[in-house]
């Protein structure tokens, strides 16, 4: 998210991956575990309009710090050292553009011999339509958003030779939607502060980890996310020290300690609305059954109205 504010991101929808991608690089992600139908629907075995052979029509490369079922199923597995995403992407940029580099031919980058990266750079340029699908192994590696910024720069520069795109492997249901909605209503996808009555933005300053670490907030309302599963322990401890309101359809560790627990109808099961896919394609999720409880939308509106009329 932050990275695209510096270099932007060249991307495409998943159907383009399916129909056109002849080179797919899974970088720091393991869709076979975390996004189980991704490869079959969009990115590997699926038959596309211009990749009629499906899996055989694509070259699949996996870059990761450890072997996984995704790396095992790839045509090539490049096992890198943790903390080397930035170096690797930097090197690939130079190799793709044919720039002079400052290391010897027998050197390793990210624990991988230079010639392997040279071959990958050539494969990237030779592809007709390549994509990098990147996951937490990139965004949570040393460097965080700078890794994405550097990958973004690589992707951009490869477009001087061929079509080449990057897609983040976004996790939970509608996290993409939260970026979109915040984007059109506040101008910023994350980390917004309204203390002055208008939106201000500064990740690190106004994002959840920093706010909790510095004890800058004195109450919290958490919606449709389990902080126990997402946040580090000291952040959870900081939440436990302040009044915390929790909207959640299921019992979990957080419902055990939150100051106020409000059960809600699960979205896409007992409440309808819009979800955004990882490639920003919006789809309508449905109400299949009734719930005894209101939806998140209804609860939030009630809270808002209670405050407005107080």
């Amino acid at each position: 998210m932050i990275a695209r504010q510096q270099v932007g991101l060249a991307t495409c929808t998943l159907g383009e991956v399916k129909n056109r991608a002849d080179l797919v690089i899974f970088w720091g992600c393991n869709p076979r575990e975390s996004h189980q139908r991704h490869q079959a629907r969009y990115s590997a075995s699926v038959k596309g309009q211009f990749i009629p052979e499906g899996r055989k029509g694509r070259r699949i490369v996996a870059i990761d710090v450890r072997p996984t079922s995704t790396t095992a199923a790839a045509d090539q597995f490049i096992q890198v050292e943790p903390g080397s995403t930035f170096e690797t992407a930097t090197l690939l940029r130079a190799l793709v553009a044919g720039k002079r580099i400052g290391i010897e031919e027998d050197a390793k980058v990210g624990g991988v011999p230079l010639h392997v990266w040279r071959e990958l750079a050539e494969a990237i340029k030779a592809a007709d339509y390549g994509v990098i699908l990147f996951g937490l192994g990139v965004t949570h590696d040393r460097g965080h958003d700078l890794n994405v910024e550097e990958l973004g720069a690589l992707i951009r520069e490869v477009n001087d030779y061929t079509r080449f795109y990057g897609l983040p492997m976004r996790g939970h249901g509608n996290v993409t939607g939260s970026n979109q909605v915040m984007g059109w209503q506040t101008g910023y996808p994350i980390a917004v502060n309204f203390n002055r009555g208008y939106p201000r933005y500064n990740p690190g300053e106004f994002s959840v980890l920093g706010l909790l670490a510095r004890e800058e907030v004195d109450a919290a309302i958490i919606i449709a996310t389990d902080p126990g599963a997402h946040l580090p322990g000291d952040s959870v401890a900081a939440l436990q020290a302040i009044p915390t309101i929790y909207l959640e359809p299921h019992v979990n560790t957080t419902t055990g300690w939150a100051t106020v627990v409000i059960p809600v109808a699960p979205a896409g099961v007992a409440a309808e609305g819009t979800f955004y896919r990882m490639d920003n394609v919006p789809l309508r999720v449905r109400k299949l059954v009734d719930s005894p409880f209101p939806s998140d939308e209804e609860v939030l509106r009630s809270i808002k109205e209670t405050i407005l009329h107080a």
């Binding site: 504010q5 383009e16 969009y42 101008g187 208008y198």
Partner: protein, 548 residues
């Protein structure tokens, strides 16, 4: 009931040119003057003011995936441009890409009450409607991009002319209905698909993979389909080679190809460049204006350049990639499967830059050389050529040739060699301004109830205090009335009513043809059943009738 009294009314649609008369509003409509003074009447005393119909914006980028990509990509655009929450308004920020709420307030504060988002790919149409719903005050609609759509190109590849036309008509109706859109948009026909194949820019007769159809066939086919369906608005065309010196050739050739059909050519400024011998920019405005003058079936909007920051965003992905190479700054791109693409690149236009100075002149030349104000409209292709908040300044440029001269002095002096603006003396009248900012747009959009103040028109009115400085005059209306309610007073939003979504009444269009449905199910990443936008996204959509 509301009475706007004592104002000089400029209602070109009803041939009212500055006469002092009352305008009566009731039930969201303009009504005839009641026989007896009604008991419950509120009065706006517009003495010393001009009374216009509410403004109509027919080409702007305000909602949807690429606009939001622009917002998210450019926090630096928002930092110094913000509005706090008030009792009646939401907070917001952004200059060239404001948030949805701020977009609505800022348009309303200029006297606009109707707004169209100009380019929506079907796959992300829900997103566009979600944002349009969050644009307050204005009635809104959007256009569906079709010029690189696989189903469209597949149908057009049919050698049987009659079958091709019939199938395309059905497909266009189905796509418009599925996306709940208002009009057919064509963006760089064939050029976006070509880019996905590493192809270069396409000319009118370039065969575009994978279906081998030409931009000519895409243009003429879709224009005919729009005509035959009787859509209220004709095809809305962004031509090939946007922004490239020498593109006047493809512009004129495309007009030739469409001659005899209704067509709207958008942001024509970007398509009216001659090439100098060194390959740089010179004005092609006289030739393009002449072509528009000769073809009463054509309309256009100008896409006037505004000096300062802009954010370019279009479905014309290859054009954005080219722009990105000018500065090597941020670039966002999104190829959209089977349909389209999108690109976003931030820009800054400078009067000292010869190219920008030429572009600035070309826009004004078009506005001044096209004789019929009913067929040329004021736009900035917001935010591509600049933000819409510059409209009052552009109005002054059109109405005040001294002001134009002052500005010409500030430009790169070499611009005189490449443009004719300094030779043009025409000054727009208030009536002509009312035409190029609302009446003409409403007419070409087929919105019978918009852009005029006759009985039965929507009660959308903008009242401006007469001032010699037309920029100040149009920057802060005394009142803006939307649907009979005062929403702006002295340039500030005082009530944020909800606008209504606008669509076209296609009845129940035939389902997607079996072969196209099969193609869709095979190659789209979503099921056909989940493709069409549901009613929930366009609550109480106002459907404008078609006249096939």
């Amino acid at each position: 009931m509301l009475r706007v009294t004592n104002g000089r009314v400029h209602d070109p649609g009803n041939a009212v040119a500055g006469e002092v008369r009352d305008v009566w509003l009731d039930g969201g409509k303009v009504v005839a003057e009641p026989a007896a003074e009604p008991a419950d009447v509120a009065t706006l005393d517009a003495a010393g003011c001009v009374v216009f119909p509410g403004g109509v914006e027919l080409h702007s980028h305000v909602a949807g995936s690429k606009v939001n990509a622009g917002r998210i990509m450019c926090p630096e655009d928002h930092v110094d441009h913000y509005r706090c929450r008030t009792d009646v308004t939401r907070a917001g920020c952004g200059h060239t890409v404001p948030t949805t709420y701020l977009t609505g307030y800022e348009y309303a504060r200029l006297g606009y009450t109707t707004l169209f988002e100009a380019a929506v790919p079907p796959l992300t149409a829900r997103h566009a409607h979600e944002e349009l719903r969050d644009i307050p005050i204005l009635d809104t609609g959007c256009y569906t991009v079709m010029g690189n759509n696989h189903l469209v190109m597949k149908v057009l590849s049919d050698p049987d002319e009659e079958r091709r036309a019939a199938r395309l008509r059905d497909l266009v109706a189905w796509l418009l209905h599925a996306t709940r859109a208002y009009a057919v948009k064509i963006v760089n026909p064939g050029g976006v698909e070509s880019w996905k194949w590493h192809g270069g820019p396409v000319d009118l007769d370039t065969s575009v993979p994978p279906y081998g159809v030409t931009p000519r066939r895409i243009l003429t086919g879709l224009a005919a389909a729009a005509d035959e369906l009787g859509l209220p608005h004709p095809v809305h065309v962004h031509l090939n080679h946007l922004g490239v010196p020498g593109n006047v050739a493809v512009t004129l050739a495309s007009m030739q190809a469409l001659a005899g059909r209704r067509a709207h050519f958008t942001h024509l400024q970007f398509h009216s460049y001659e090439a100098t011998r060194s390959g740089s920019y010179a004005s092609g405005a006289p030739a393009v204006a002449e072509s528009i003058n000769q073809h009463p079936e054509f309309t256009c909007d100008v896409g006037q350049l505004v000096f300062g920051p802009a954010t370019t965003m279009t479905s014309d992905a290859p054009m954005e990639f080219r722009l990105h190479h000018l500065h090597k700054d941020k670039w966002a791109n999104s190829d959209i499967e089977m349909e389209s693409g999108a690109g976003v690149v931030p820009m800054r236009y400078s009067p000292r830059q010869l190219v920008n100075a030429v572009q600035w002149c070309v826009g004004l030349e078009l506005m001044l050389l096209i004789r019929d104000p009913w067929r040329v409209f004021l736009t900035t292709d917001h935010p591509n050529a600049g933000p819409f908040v510059a409209y009052p300044m552009i109005v002054r440029l059109l109405m005040d040739r001294e002001f134009r001269r002052e500005w010409l002095e500030k430009l790169n002096p070499r611009v005189r060699r490449f443009t004719t603006l300094h030779e043009l003396d025409r000054e727009y009248t208030l009536d002509e301004i009312a035409t190029v900012t609302r009446a003409g747009q409403a007419r070409v959009l087929g919105l019978a109830d918009k852009g005029h103040l006759g009985v039965g028109a929507d009660a959308d009115v903008a009242v401006y205090r007469e001032q010699g400085d037309r920029e100040r005059m149009f920057a802060a209306p005394a009142w803006v009335v939307k649907g009979g309610e005062v929403v702006v007073r002295d340039g500030e939003v005082v009530a944020a009513v909800d606008g209504r979504p606008l669509g076209v009444d296609l009845g129940d269009p035939p389902p997607l043809a079996a072969d196209l449905a099969e193609q869709f199910e095979s190659y789209s990443s979503v099921r056909l059943a989940n493709y069409a936008v549901e009613d929930a996204y366009v609550p109480d959509q106002v459907l404008i009738p078609c006249a096939p």
